[in-house]
Amino acid sequence: MRASTIGYTLCILLALAVPALGIYPVFAMQLMCFAMFACAFNLLLGFSGMLSFGHAAYFGFASYVTSWLIMAHRWDTVESIVTGTVAAGLLGLVVGAIAIRRQGIYFAMITLALGQLVYFVCLQAPFTGGENGIQGVPRGSLLGLVSLRPDVHMYYFVLVIFVAVFLFIRRIVHSPYGYVLKAIRENEPRAISLGYHVDRYKLLAFVLSATIAGLAGSLKAMTLGLSTLSDVNAGTSGEVILMTLLGGTGTFFGPVLGAGIVTSLQQYLSGVVGDWVTAIIGAIFVACVMLFRRGIIGEVLAWQQRRQAGRAAAQQPVGRA
């Protein structure tokens, strides 16, 4: 536990120092948006056991709504972000209500299909700009007080939200509600027989996850000043799964690490190997599933546990029953 406290302190210090260290703030912001997206996804897969294969729908839809409100209606930045986030939550409510009627593999296929439905709607709806997307979205200001145009201002804005969301997810998972979710993940029929309204718990988890994914999408739109079809397509849904799986499903920091690795890989590999990025992402997927299903953080935690168990066994005095 102490090691993780030190780890988080170091992460916060590093995050605070990013602009001073000469790390490109836009890249750091993009990374945090995807990390938030992956944390939202992990809330669903890792802590509730539901694999959504269409999570880009909420990320991308919120991104479109936010950009559109600012561009077409000159809304304020914070209002647009909040509205985009709420829109994603409502979309999650509709999709979740349909998808939770089936479990496991069917749930994955249904969310994938409904995600594709949202993609086609975004492709054809008049407000999304079709193939071009919405470009040149101004960042505006924070409630008219601080301009978000400078990257450093925007960076700290995103950082504060990211940390808040991270703590919020921890809070949910450790709450009585989070324990019920885990019970449903482990044994749904048993949770039902204990008298829990399983569907309500699952739907709430789905809506929460979609809402946070939407917040991540809205912030990403603000960071880069654009919303495109790639935010909402099945490829992005796949990427967020990979981030979570690679970092460690069901761990708190895993999705953040996974998002960091995948985003950096895409950023730097595309300069080095060009079109091979897709194939490499696919290969990482295969390696993850075949070799380390717990993900990086998950494997580290398992290794620690084994070591502690070994030490405890060694300290056990011989002959004491």
Partner: protein
């Protein structure tokens, strides 16, 4: 001119025919998915990518080796089936005891790899494949014009689908297969090598996808991503029909293809999404799918 609800009849029939052609592909692909899922418990996300590889195998065979369409129709499924068997032995086999979600994730990764490699090699622009000589031209039915090749696709797919259904539901081999689905240990105790059956089933299911790929080659542009959005529609078809039902996947594939065709007449903007909307409705009404059992 005859009209139905204000839409000219030839337009409706034309779109129905196109829809039936698309439906033939849905039927063949969802059939393969259902067979694989039935025995392996794996949702084969790579199905679209293997369909794409089947089409490319035909293209490469024609242009590099001079293999004509008819041999490609035989050889491409064999080649892709062999690839499938290698994948099953090397990778998929190790996941049977785990949560089925891992099989989905693995095959998703494999699909990305296949699409990535092919995009590098052929770029994202399409390749075209000529319609074989014997199937060129059109039938003039009087009320509409039917290209011979499209008629051939419908017939070929119906024959393949019916044969698969017959083999699984009406033959000794099929009853062994179904028994192995129900209780693999017991079947193994009777001296039947279940792992080999599982391997062969994956090979056959994947070969079916490649067969569909070759059939589609003269109809569309062959691109590395031709299977990636198709597989999502096919997933929806499988959810509508009820996974594990062979008959259900064939019928829902064909019917949904035609529904999509009719949507193109009535409200073209919705033709991309109508299958997904129907899926949502079916889930609200019958969560197990139209032909499925819970």
């Amino acid at each position: 001119m005859t009209e139905i609800f204000g839409y000219p009849l030839p337009v409706i029939l034309g779109q129905l025919m196109l829809g039936l052609v698309n439906g033939s592909f849905y039927a063949m692909l969802s059939l393969g998915l259902a067979v694989i899922f039935g025995l392996l418990g794996v949702v084969n996300f790579a199905h679209g990518a293997l369909y794409m590889l089947g089409a490319y195998a035909a293209y490469v065979g024609l242009n590099l080796l001079g293999i004509n369409y008819w041999f490609a129709l035989l050889l491409s499924p064999l080649a892709v089936g062999a690839l499938g068997i290698v994948l099953e032995r090397l990778l998929l086999r190790h996941l049977y005891k785990l949560d089925p979600l891992y099989g989905l994730l693995l095959t998703f990764g494999l699909a990305l790899m296949a699409e990535g490699v092919m995009s590098n090699h052929y770029g994202s622009s399409g390749q075209s494949y000529p319609v074989p000589g014997a199937l060129q031209g059109v039938f003039n039915l009087g009320f509409m014009i039917l290209p011979i090749y499209r008629a051939w696709v419908i017939v070929a797919s119906l024959v393949v689908c019916f044969t698969t259904w017959f083999v699984i539901e009406r033959t000794r081999l099929g009853s062994t297969l179904r028994a192995a689905t129900e209780n693999p240990k017991l079947v193994q105790a009777f001296g039947i090598n279940v792992p080999i059956i599982v391997m062969a089933t994956y090979g056959a299911g994947v070969g079916l996808a490649a067969f569909a790929g070759v059939l589609s080659a003269p109809l569309i542009q062959i691109t590395p991503l031709m299977g990636s959005s198709l597989v999502i529609v096919v997933f929806a078809v499988v959810v509508i029909g009820g996974m594990g039902s062979i008959f259900g996947s064939i019928v829902s594939g064909l019917v949904l293809g035609m529904v999509e065709g009719l949507t193109k007449v009535v409200y073209p903007e919705a033709s991309n999404v109508v299958v997904f909307l129907i899926m949502a409705l079916v889930l609200m009404w019958r969560p197990a799918g139209l032909f499925g059992r819970t």
